[in-house]
């Protein structure tokens, strides 16, 4: 678009009048000047930009037209006309010229479009017609969800059989709440990282690989929304496994033992702390995973890289701290930072020598880097098939 | 790796053709089933020498046929012989085969020369030998000036030709080209066709598949027609068409005065109808194409009407297939 003061509506007007002209008479003597529209008033913002981003300026309000689906604004607008105009009558039939013009209706609100993206990713776990997850991934998610409820099961077993010891071992306590979320064996050595790796593996990279990102970005969808919905959908799946199972465990503990209000008041604080730790865990795993998924092409690299980051840094830190007695090396490991912050929040014994604030800062830094990488990558993602 | 003599195909006395000695490709009652779908259904044929076009719509089984011949797939039933050896069990005959797959994927990071050289080395050539041959074939397909450019930067026609080049590097006796013209622009199309024709002229056996009859017609007249996995026809294209001459054919003439020209044709005994689909078009319906074609110039001149174009709208694969299918049922 050469001129800044171009307005797409003028084109419609121009075309409509031209069509009108044609219908009336082809031999009309009307000078061409008459159909030329009056120059539009100078808009505040570049008009095409405003059209694309939304009427209210540079914000998407849900009012944007489907201009994005038709072109980038370099001449395609001229190809608009009325639909289904009778072109030529042949004996015994009619042929319609297929002439297209942009859809000019109202879009659904932004949250509705975003909900469609979110739904697409989550429903895919249960039914066809949404984002396909491999059978293996579904099975692992199911298996991990069941196994993360093992402590609840043992507690119920202990309560039913009246075995005091089992009940004491698996009952609600600070240690067990911490363990449900942040224990290394096996929850964070195996269950949660594997599930995360499997989910995030292709979540963005496959969109690039298969060219489906073009489907998203050629629609009135903000890239930030796209990334956020991806984030949210991974977070929700992980949340069901980690946070929801924690809630079930706590709830189960209360119901199984028939505890009263006093117990609730006593333990609710630590439950909330564990809940916060679980949120942090889900958020951190999701952001690291999505960042990895956004920088790579296949689904394999991000999955393995995620496991490498979680388990590899843990092992390196374990090696160095064991050999050289440097607890601070655990700052490189996302899991250990989470565990340390979790220990601090839930109030169990610290297993690290350095202050928990360091871990918290490191955790924030890691999340910041991941989210920066994710947003930078998504906003520069090319809309071609790679 | 040593050819298994017990696997050498048995000659048959089927109707399709006499078995030439040691056919390059021989299929006997080959059926290939993918799950519930039949890819090839009881196909028997033998090919030796010359350029043969394999014609068929998408999904007719062309690629399946080729993949069976080069041992990528295993026949569900029947025997496949490549130079008398079972290609599924024994990779030895590949030394005499060049196969251009339909796959568009190439190693984009390699230069054309690297690509062909590396693959040539898999035939057991030394590095120098392989490079020499690679330069040679790349020149043959007309890529001599871009041999050191990365394949990722090639155009589609160049990619197609580099694939052909890699298949020629071992100087094969049998060359199999799966849709070599797909996605080429007219210029590249001509180049590729020339290459194929040259190969035929050099005495190689060439199998080339396409779903466009015109393309194949420009390369060869010897065709195999597949439809829904079945062998529909085999032999010379015109001979096949002659066999179908009793079927109605149409000739389209574009002229100023179709009605006058139409009346001029009506006396001809083989013409059974004329139609005027458009104001400037005349369609002659006949059941003996060649005799009408013979008489056509005379009638046109005699009528004194100016004819701007003559077309055979039935000369495409769809109508041919239509006839063949009709003939079957």
């Amino acid at each position: 678009m050469g001129d800044d003061d171009f307005d797409i509506d003028d084109l419609f007007d121009e075309f409509d009048s031209a069509v009108q002209e044609n219908k009336e008479s082809t031999s009309s003597d009307t000078p061409a000047d008459d159909v030329t529209p009056t120059p539009p008033p100078a808009p505040d913002a570049p008009a095409t930009e405003a059209e694309y981003m939304g009427q209210a300026g540079l914000q998407v309000t849900g009012q944007a037209r489907l201009e994005a689906a038709f072109g980038s604004g370099d001449g395609d607008e001229v190809a608009i006309a009325q639909v289904a105009q009778v072109a030529q009558s042949e004996s015994g039939g009619t042929i319609f010229h297929q002439i297209y013009r942009p859809w000019r209706g109202e879009l659904n609100p932004r949250w509705m479009r975003n909900w469609a993206i979110l739904r697409h990713h989550i429903y895919g776990l249960f039914s066809k017609g949404h984002r396909p997850y491999p059978l293996m991934t579904k099975l692992v998610i199911f298996g991990v969800f069941i196994s993360s409820l093992a402590d609840l099961g043992f507690m119920a077993l202990g309560s039913l059989t009246g075995a005091e010891e089992i009940e004491r071992m698996f009952g609600i306590s600070r240690g067990n709440l911490y363990g449900h979320v942040l224990a290394f064996w096996f929850r964070n050595a195996c269950y949660y990282p594997i599930v995360t790796a499997l989910i995030i593996g292709g979540i963005i990279s496959e969109d690039r690989q298969h060219g489906t990102s073009a489907l998203y970005f050629s629609r009135p969808i903000n890239r930030r929304d796209y990334a956020m919905m991806k984030f949210l959908s991974v977070g929700i799946i992980l949340g069901v496994i980690i946070i929801f199972s924690l809630c079930l465990y706590y709830l189960g503990g209360i119901l199984v033992n028939g505890e009263g209000w006093a117990y609730l008041i006593d333990t609710f604080g630590m439950f909330l702390a564990a809940l916060a730790a679980a949120f942090l865990l889900v958020f951190t795993y999701t952001s690291i995973g999505l960042a990895l998924s956004s920088v790579s092409q296949g689904k394999f690299f991000p999955a393995v890289a995620f496991l490498g980051i979680i388990l590899g840094t843990k092992l390196v830190a374990f090696l160095i701290s064991t050999l050289f007695d440097r607890s601070a090396i655990y700052l490189i490991s996302p899991y250990d930072n989470l565990a340390h912050v979790g220990q601090w929040m839930i109030g169990v014994n610290h297993t690290y020598d350095h202050p928990a604030v360091w871990s918290l800062v490191m955790l924030l830094v890691m999340n910041a880097i991941s989210i920066y990488v994710l947003s930078a990558r998504v906003s520069s993602l090319e809309v071609t098939r790679e | 790796m040593i050819p298994d003599m017990s696997q050498v195909g048995k000659p048959t006395d089927d109707a399709w053709a006499p078995v030439p000695e040691a056919p390059h490709v021989m299929l006997e009652g080959v059926t290939k089933v993918y799950g519930q779908v039949i890819g090839l259904n009881d196909v028997s044929l033998a090919v030796k020498g010359g350029v043969t076009g394999i014609l068929g719509m998408n999904g007719a089984g062309k690629s399946t046929l080729f993949k069976l011949i080069v041992g990528r797939l295993k026949a569900s039933q029947g025997t496949v012989r490549l130079f008398g050896t079972d290609p599924w069990k024994n990779p030895a005959p590949y030394a005499r085969v060049g196969y251009v797959s339909e796959s568009e994927q190439l190693y984009d990071w390699m230069t054309g020369l690297d690509f062909v050289t590396t693959l040539a080395r898999l035939f057991g050539y030394t590095r120098d030998e392989a490079k020499e041959r690679a330069l040679h074939v790349l020149d043959f397909v007309g890529l001599a000036d871009v041999v050191n450019k990365q394949i990722g930067k090639y155009s589609k026609g160049m990619r197609q030709r580099v694939k052909i080049a890699h298949a020629l590097v071992n100087d094969p006796d049998l060359i199999i080209l799966d849709e070599p013209l797909a996605g080429c622009d007219p210029l590249a199309r001509t180049t590729v066709m020339n290459v194929v024709r040259e190969l035929g002229a050099m005495g190689k056996t060439v199998l080339v598949s396409s779903h466009i009859l015109n393309e194949i017609e420009r390369i060869t007249e010897q065709i195999i027609i597949l439809h829904n996995g079945r062998l529909l026809a085999l032999g010379n294209l015109h001979a096949i068409r002659e066999l179908l001459d009793q079927h109605p054919h149409r000739i389209l003439l574009r002229t100023d005065n179709p009605r006058k020209l139409g009346t001029a044709f009506l006396p001809h005994s083989d013409v059974y109808g004329v139609r005027f689909p458009k104001p400037d078009e005349l369609v002659i319906e006949t059941n003996n194409l060649s005799s009408v074609h013979k008489a056509l110039p005379e009638i046109c001149i005699a009528s004194g009407v100016r004819v701007t174009a003559i077309e055979n709208p039935d000369d495409n694969l769809e109508s041919l297939l239509g006839y063949l299918m009709e003939g079957r049922s």
Binding site: F300, V304, G308, L319 | M5, S103, R133, V141, G203
Partner: protein, 488 residues
């Protein structure tokens, strides 16, 4: 270069010539045909022809394997070069090794403070003579006026009495009689009063018949120490700084070799580099180019692995050499370089090679077994190996670990460690005996060979054999699956 042809004449003479070269081959074959084809009918004729036509092939297939191998290996290497993930993975490996080396260098430079186990460096009465010296000369350590004559016996600095009786071990595991009372506070040697009440009344408390020694009850063949039983005041105040430094260095050798090389590098390199060797080609549809050649599929698999090995083995060898040189220069040693470590480093190298090969084979075969789910199998296997490595570090005799590759890699290093330093077991027992067991990481990273208890060499052979077996088995399964795989 070949001269340019005008585009209209795509038929170069050279190819014609090439064809002419090829023709005699077939013409010759055709000429021989009548002789070859004896009485038979069509079948015999065809067989003869096939045999003739295929004759050059046998030559191709059998005698030119090496050319194909180098071609595919070279191709694989160049393919790695174009992938950014290769560089990321190799770079992270180098960073990891550098980081560990920095920590190591720092720990070696800092050293440890020695402390006085028996408290005889203190001067309780403030007369300038440490307790040990006062005892030796028979004066009272609690009386400021009672001390040796400064004229004849000048007071020792306290440091003399901090590390006065080092641990003595002659390295001979058949000899249970070890230890020597260097400062004479058991034997009374050098004391002014040999019958001083400060000396222990019974100087053979362990009852082995030797006064003032340390009795090691041990298995003389395996070097396994069952118990350490010392006479009073023997080896009671060794130099912790030396001992701990030595222990730290050895734990570094073990820990880095086991966790760093055989596990971290050993799993992640193949996971990133080997899983896609065959699978990616099949998925992308480029396998046709390799398989369309007179080459068996098993060969393709093997040569691809060969390419992977030519990348990873030199890489890991380089890392081991760098680590060995740097740590050898920094480590406590008598000379300029600590040569004693070399057998252990060799063991680390062999272990990493074997593990890289075995994982490479297993992961690449995962991709063949199921192109779709192979990735998940590989990830699952990776986590399984991680768990097994941790279990094997803690208890290598746990039978489930025998099924993992990491266990056997760790086993090789255990064996190499014992071969390089037979006194490993002694060090740990002594460390426990002297109360610094908890301070040293040796206990975390050391475990005796478990495959053939008691014989490091035999265990190593078993470990090498098992790893080779895993590799061969994986390759066997892989090529069998690959051969049966239909490629679309």
């Amino acid at each position: 270069m070949i001269p340019e042809q005008p585009p209209d004449t795509p038929m170069p003479d050279a190819l014609e010539m090439q064809l002419a070269d090829a023709r005699p081959r077939f013409e010759e074959a055709a000429a021989q045909e009548p002789a070859a084809q004896a009485p038979t009918g069509r079948i015999g004729q065809m067989q003869a022809q096939a045999a003739q036509a295929l004759r050059p092939l046998t030559n191709t297939v059998w005698s030119k394997l090496d050319r194909k191998a180098t071609a595919i290996a070279e191709f694989t290497l160049r393919q790695y070069r174009t992938k950014s993930s290769t560089w990321v993975v190799l770079g992270i490996g180098l960073m990891f090794v550098t980081m560990v080396m920095l920590f190591y260098a720092e720990a070696m430079a800092t050293g440890f403070d020695s402390y006085d186990n028996d408290g005889d460096s203190e001067d309780w009465d403030g007369d300038g003579y440490p307790t040990g010296q006062e005892r030796r000369y028979g004066t009272s350590p609690w009386n400021a006026d009672d001390h040796p004559d400064p004229e004849t016996v000048p007071p020792d600095p306290a440091s003399v009495w901090i590390n006065e009786d080092p641990l003595d071990f002659d390295g001979d595991f058949r000899n249970s009689n070890q230890g020597f009372d260097d400062d004479g506070d058991c034997t009374g040697e050098g004391w002014s009063d040999p019958n001083s009440p400060e000396l222990p009344s019974r100087n053979d408390r362990n009852g082995d018949g030797h006064p003032c020694n340390v009795y090691y009850r041990m298995n003389s063949t395996t070097g396994m120490v069952y118990s350490v039983n010392g006479d009073p005041n023997v080896d009671e105040d060794p130099d912790e700084s030396v001992f701990l430094k030595e222990a730290l260095h050895r734990s570094f050798l073990l820990g880095f070799g086991k966790v760093g090389f055989t596990f971290l590098l050993g799993v992640f390199l193949p996971l990133f580099l080997a899983t896609g060797l065959v699978r990616d080609e099949m998925e992308r549809g480029t396998m046709h180019y390799l398989l369309g050649k007179p080459i068996a599929r098993a060969e393709v698999l093997t040569y691809r692995l060969l390419g992977y090995v030519t990348l990873t083995w030199p890489y890991v060898t380089g890392l081991v050499i760098i680590t060995a040189i740097v740590s050898g220069l920094l480590a406590p040693s008598d000379g300029f370089y600590r040569w004693q470590d070399l057998p252990l480093w060799l063991g680390v190298l062999v272990a990493s090679w074997m593990v890289l090969l075995a994982y490479g084979a297993v992961f690449s075969v995962c991709g063949i077994i199921s192109p779709k789910y192979g990735v998940f199998i590989a990830i699952g296997l990776g986590v399984w190996e991680f768990l097994m490595a941790m279990v094997s570090l803690a208890d290598p005799t746990f039978p489930l670990t025998y099924l993992s590759i990491s266990h056997w890699g760790i086993e090789i290093i255990n064996c190499a460690a014992l071969l390089a330093y037979p006194d490993f077991i002694w060090m740990i027992q002594v460390a426990e005996f002297h109360g610094f067991g908890a301070d040293i990481a040796l206990q975390v990273f050391w475990s005796p060979p478990s495959a053939v208890p008691g014989s490091a060499l035999a265990s190593m052979v078993v470990a090498l054999f098992v790893l080779t077996l895993y590799t061969v088995f994986a390759l066997f399964i892989g090529q069998a699956m690959f051969k049966r795989r239909e490629l679309d």
